[in-house]
Amino acid sequence: MTQTPMHVAVAALTLVVAGGLVAGRQPVAAPPPAAAQVPASQAPPASQRQPSEVELSISGDPGTPPRFAVPEFVALTPDAAEVAKVVSAVLWDDLNFEREFYLIPRDTYTTVPQARAPGQIPYNAWRELGADGVVFGTVSKTGNDVRVEVRLFNVRSRQSVFAREYGGSASNPRVYAHTISDEIHQHQRALRGVARTKLTFSSDRNREKVGGTVQDRDVKEVYIADYDGANQRRITVNRTLNITPVWSPDGRAIAYTSYRKGVPDILVAYIYEGRSENPTAGRGSNFLPAWSPDGKRMAFMSSRDGNPEIYVMNADGSGVRRLTNHPAGDVTPTWSPSGTEIAFTSDRAGRAQVFVVSADGLGTPRRISIGEQYADRATWSSGPNNEIAFAAQTGPGYDIKIYDVSTGQTRQITFGEGSNESPAFSPSGRHLAFTSTRAGRAQIFTVARDGRDVRQITRDGNNFTPSWSQ
């Protein structure tokens, strides 16, 4: 089994499930992304799991989400204070992001005495603040080794419903919070959280100029960041135009459009191995790669036969097949979650509109953007919601709209604050990343699929065309 390199940093953590505390009705299996990290030998043997009457899922008042408090983790060693601060703050943000729980604001915790041990948790004080659940965590540090222990208590029953212990390096404390958040979401809501996912995008932030041209032209390189914008780093050094990056489904690679050889071509950067591949091998101009959901194929736009058309090939570049055949321009492919259909943009009906065609190219493409002046960059949700987001012209600029494939209805989630382009769904389909000029220059933002919770991810330079890892 191949381990997802995106989680290599996480893999350094060892996860110990506290036997006995985690028991009862809910499965204790780690969520899919973490599954590879947990050796089977570390999972509690079935015999240790006690049958229990403990209700493991904390509920809130009827009709409202459970209210959680995440007070600062306790530093068991003096030099663990900074890690404890970071882990608890990031965990609060991570849990808040999915809106499955109402997170009680941290500045109200001052009235609650800090517990140094689970036995000291002041349940009555938390109850007065309205908490249904409270997280208690400790951090100890030895050299560069960190141990983080975390429990989630039901404030009413005063029982521990979730307990985990992690060990690993202190180099990136945020990853402990992300792991805890994903596991709490999985454990409490059977939800695959996104706290350990990443974004990739194109940016001109290093302010280099393309060499060998008379005009003043900004280099764009490919960057990655955590889903919340932390840990932004550059992953290409091509000193030319590198745009439209997309994560491979296994998180090992990023495919992008590069002008490194003068003419645009598709490069695949294996970002944890320091190597790069060129599946299209310079046959014509090739743009806008899009991996199939199983990662075995790639759709892209190419002008190799004289006009921009959509093609599909195997991930290694073999078996190239042309999907569209129209004198108009066909561009920006995206796969359906099942891998059987591809949505793309075409101006065959006049201005740019979104069409869907079967992935084998058979049949007539059907138009799904109806009543739009102009629609581009369709992105198909891979989550349970069968939705296609796209950028639609709504005035001088663009807004993000979402087409519901099952109902045929389209709704709008941004409303003219700057121009909003290039939507990309999170793996659960509950959020989108997009490019917006609402803060001045072009920046990456995330937003919930109902249009709430807009967050700015980038601030440096101009940033474009995000993709969200699985």
Binding site: F287, G329, V331, T332, Y374, E421
Partner: protein
């Protein structure tokens, strides 16, 4: 296509044009046999003919009158003898002014037959980044097609689409957009 339907007429036109212009190799035209008519007398047999003419290579311009041949590539491109070709919004059509510009560039390329050129396709910022990659591609391709029809050898021309990535004018009004909707010619070797 009209040319196929009126093969003989086109043949004559090509011959005329070649004679009038006298500077390029006209394409070899092969007319397909029309299908035999069922009820009419057999038409006159189609005469197949190769139309060939030696290509006169104009002598280089005198140095005193024209220093184009001696400038560095960067200098050449900074003050280029090749004119940009401008497009309407979301259009890949070459209007009369655009055709005039391409014809002028064809003349320059005939005068300097060793030059190779990259035709860059550019778009204004009003379209989306992704769609504009295709639009820029089609603009560059339209300019290349017309140049080729004017006799410039295909292997001297390379196209590359930059979409809206490299605007010439950073402004956000029609005069800037007009500057940015173009096929831009860069001399890459000479």
């Amino acid at each position: 296509m009209r040319m196929k339907n009126r093969a003989l007429g086109a043949l004559a036109l090509v011959a005329l044009a070649a004679a009038a212009c006298g500077e390029k190799t006209p394409p070899v035209v092969e007319a397909p046999m029309p299908p035999p008519a069922m009820d009419e007398p057999a038409p006159a047999p189609v005469v197949r003919e190769r139309v060939e003419e030696p290509v006169p290579l104009p002598p280089p311009e005198p140095v005193a009158a024209d220093d184009v041949g001696s400038r560095s590539l960067d200098d050449l491109n900074r003050n280029s003898p090749l004119a940009p070709v401008y497009f309407e919004y979301d259009s890949t059509d070459l209007n009369a002014a655009a055709q005039l510009a391409v014809r002028g560039n064809a003349d320059v390329l005939r005068r300097y037959p060793t030059w190779t050129v990259t035709i860059e396709g550019h778009c204004d910022e009003r379209g989306t980044a992704e769609y504009n990659l295709a639009l820029g591609e089609r603009r560059a391709a339209a300019a290349r097609r017309y140049l080729e029809s004017l006799g410039v050898a295909p292997d001297r021309l390379r196209i590359v689409s930059y979409g809206k990535e490299f605007p010439f004018d950073p402004g956000h009004d029609e005069s800037a957009w007009q500057q940015n909707r173009r096929a831009h010619f860069v001399i890459t070797s000479r």
